[in-house]
């Protein structure tokens, strides 16, 4: 009853091509944004910011990037952790070389550098497909992490081998370093993610996005109808790495503050982000957010229930957590292989008839 599109007529082409053609969707999104911008910043504290909201936003950005590559262009990549490392180290080098630079260009530049690296490692995709490509992208993962561990130039030859984000500000307000306000970092990441989610949404519904999907569905057929595999695949790698690189920069500089390559950007990161887009929904912008929320919130929830409510020992709880994550992942894949985004769609279809199903 509430979600019904009857009577919503489009009288112009722009109205027909709107991102959210149904008025309820539009209001829903506006409501979410009003809460995110108008309510959350007043309630936020350090715990919520560092444990829930910042990880969610950083991972949502990474998931957006990976979804463009895997979900829209069909090129499986297991190198996300490595590309996030590129973004983080690029941001670190830029921040330490130009200490007074505003943080926004830093993040954008980190994204661009990662995009270049991504194109380089995307080159084999022109020749290799499917799981062979997936394993080949692991080369990027291990190689990049090794490079950041091995060559002192990347971490300015400091003794620990760690990188620590120096204070940087946006329009005069600190967003990185030790003396930040949780609301400020949250709003900064939120704006970044919201803006680039909009960009991604528009990218995938124009010519570029359609050519990605053509390659995904069948690359030979796409080639025959005139989609260039070279530019299409490499543009997907470039755009995807751009997002992942920015996610890496935010992840390192704003959320973690300091990072060590093997731990923060290991292969587990790659799998985590891949899980997000598969559980959220391949080929769905909304799915990237849902998946990121699920994978960030679920471990916290499990831990709270098991350690605080059931009084399990921390070690046992950790094992049970791993076990339950595995079970949940398999459960979700069996129940809805197309992810949470598809569940949402089914729910909307049900809502359309509610409360009078035929």
């Amino acid at each position: 009853m509430l979600y019904r599109e009857s009577g919503q007529f489009k009288t112009s082409y722009p109205a027909d091509q709107a991102i959210f053609p149904i008025v309820q969707d539009r209001w829903g999104l506006i409501a979410v944004l009003v809460v995110a911008y108008g309510v959350v910043p007043f309630l936020i504290d350090d715990y919520w910011s560092n444990a829930v909201l910042l990880p969610f936003l950083c991972y949502a950005m990474a998931a957006l990037g990976l979804n463009i590559l895997v979900g829209y262009c069909g090129q499986i990549s297991l190198g996300t952790g490595g590309f996030m490392a590129v973004g983080a180290y690029a941001a670190y080098k830029i921040m330490t070389t130009f200490p007074n630079l505003d943080f926004i260009p830093v993040v954008l530049a980190a994204g661009l550098i990662t995009a270049a690296v991504g194109v380089l490692f995307g080159l084999p995709s022109l020749r290799i497909k499917g799981f062979y490509l997936a394993v080949a992208t692991l080369a990027a993962q291990f190689f990049l992490v090794w490079v950041f561990n091995k060559f002192g130039w990347f971490y300015n030859y400091n003794a620990t081998g760690q990188i620590t984000a120096p204070p940087a500000s946006v329009f005069g307000t600190l967003v990185t370093g030790a003396h930040t306000h949780p609301a400020v970092t949250y709003l900064f990441c939120l704006s970044f993610v919201a803006l680039f989610a909009l960009v991604a949404k528009n990218l995938v519904r124009n010519r570029v996005g359609r050519s990605w999907m053509a390659i995904r569905d069948m690359d030979i057929a796409a080639e025959i109808i005139g989609v260039r595999p070279l530019t299409t695949k490499l543009s997907a790698f470039a755009v995807s790495s751009f997002y992942v690189g920015m996610a890496g920069a935010l992840y390192f500089a704003v959320w973690l503050g300091s990072a060590e390559p093997t731990e923060a950007f290991g292969i587990d990161q790659s799998f985590l982000v891949l899980f997000m887009i598969i559980i959220g929904g391949l080929g769905s912008i909304l799915g990237s957010f849902l998946g990121a929320a699920f994978m960030v919130l679920m471990p916290i929830l499990l831990k709270n229930v098991m350690v605080d409510s059931l009084g399990m020992a921390a070690v046992t709880a950790k094992h049970v957590e791993i076990l339950l994550m595995g079970v949940l992942i398999i459960f979700f894949l069996i129940v809805e292989p197309h992810g949470l985004a598809r569940l949402w769609q089914i729910m909307k279809e049900k809502l359309r008839l509610w409360p009078f199903p035929y």
Binding site: V135, F142, A221, I224, I278, I322, M325, G326, I329, L333
Partner: protein, 302 residues
């Protein structure tokens, strides 16, 4: 032989031996990929799980080695059955990537169960496999080769021979090959896909047990055992996902290449290149042969 040549030989041999160990893990991948088209990421954790179960049985119930081995094989068969019943059955006809993700989930589950049941500290596995250097080789040829590695190589050879006979001569083996060739055609001549999957996962479990025993004897049974799966992946893409000989030869190439690179290239770039060199080698190789060394030629139709 001169000193340098001697050193080269020793490097190559130790590379070959390491390669055999990789092949053992890769073999399990290939078996499952051939029979069900599932890229089984959980193979490494299956090695860990099998080795953990074996050690756990031996320690907790004080069983002799061979009884524990038989029991572990039974456990792995049970695991295979549960996997088919709980996971694979429900995911027939899904995209390969969905199945791949499901096996990563499976890896988490097995890891969690293994840790919960047997604890997560490092365990020593002692099945009576000889340790230390191979004396005869050290005395007569002046070569340093670990006994364990020779045992591993012989075991791998035996395993491949047994598997080859199993696949070529037995009824079940022929059914397995039929399923590998064409699921639908196999179904239509009355082969039960489900029982085939249980069998192939059991066989992969046994291969995982062998690999787990070898690696466990070498470096103790611990979580890092599951990471050797990552080492087996370049072996796989080099040899081709669908070829048993490919897994063996790919493993040898990777093992030797990795050791040679570590010894002769490593010092110039700061060392520790073992982690990624195998991948780069396999990647470079794939650019010339996208289906791997012995993989089936990829034919695509519109």
């Amino acid at each position: 032989m001169s000193q340098d040549l001697m050193f080269l030989t020793e490097t190559v041999i130790s590379g070959l031996m390491a390669g055999v160990m990789y092949s053992l893990v890769a073999l399990g991948f290939v078996l499952i990929f051939k029979a069900s088209g599932v890229f089984n990421f959980a193979q490494g954790v299956m090695c860990l799980f099998a080795a953990l179960t074996l050690v756990g049985l031996m320690e907790t119930f004080d069983l002799p080695g061979w009884v524990a081995v038989i029991l572990t094989v039974a456990v792995m068969a049970g695991v295979a059955w549960i996997i088919e019943w709980a996971v694979l059955r429900h995911l027939v006809n899904q995209d390969p990537i969905i199945l791949f993700m499901a096996t990563i989930g499976l890896a988490y589950v097995l890891e969690g169960v293994g840790d919960l049941v047997w604890g997560s500290d490092v365990k020593v596995l002692n099945l009576g496999i000889p340790q230390g250097a191979w004396d005869w080789g050290l005395d007569n040829l002046n070569l340093y080769v670990e006994k364990l590695e020779i045992v591993a190589a012989v075991t791998a050879g035996l395993l491949v021979a047994v598997l080859a006979i199993f696949f070529q001569k037995t009824r079940v083996g022929r059914a397995l090959r039929a399923v590998a060739d064409d699921h639908q055609a196999a179904l239509s001549v009355g082969i039960s896909l489900r029982s085939i999957w249980v069998i192939v996962w059991t066989v992969a479990g046994i291969v995982a047990l062998v690999a787990g025993v070898m690696w466990g004897s070498k470096s103790g049974v611990q979580f890092s055992l599951s990471l050797i799966a990552l080492k087996a992946l370049p072996v796989l893409i080099l040899g081709g996902f669908t070829s048993v000989p490919g897994a063996i030869i790919g493993g040898l190439i990777i093992g030797v290449g990795e050791k040679l690179a570590e010894v002769y290239v490593g010092p110039f770039v700061g060392g520790a290149i073992e982690n990624w060199f195998a991948y780069m080698l396999a990647l470079a190789f794939l650019l010339f042969r996208p289906q791997g060394l012995f993989g089936e030629k990829i034919i695509e139709r519109v």
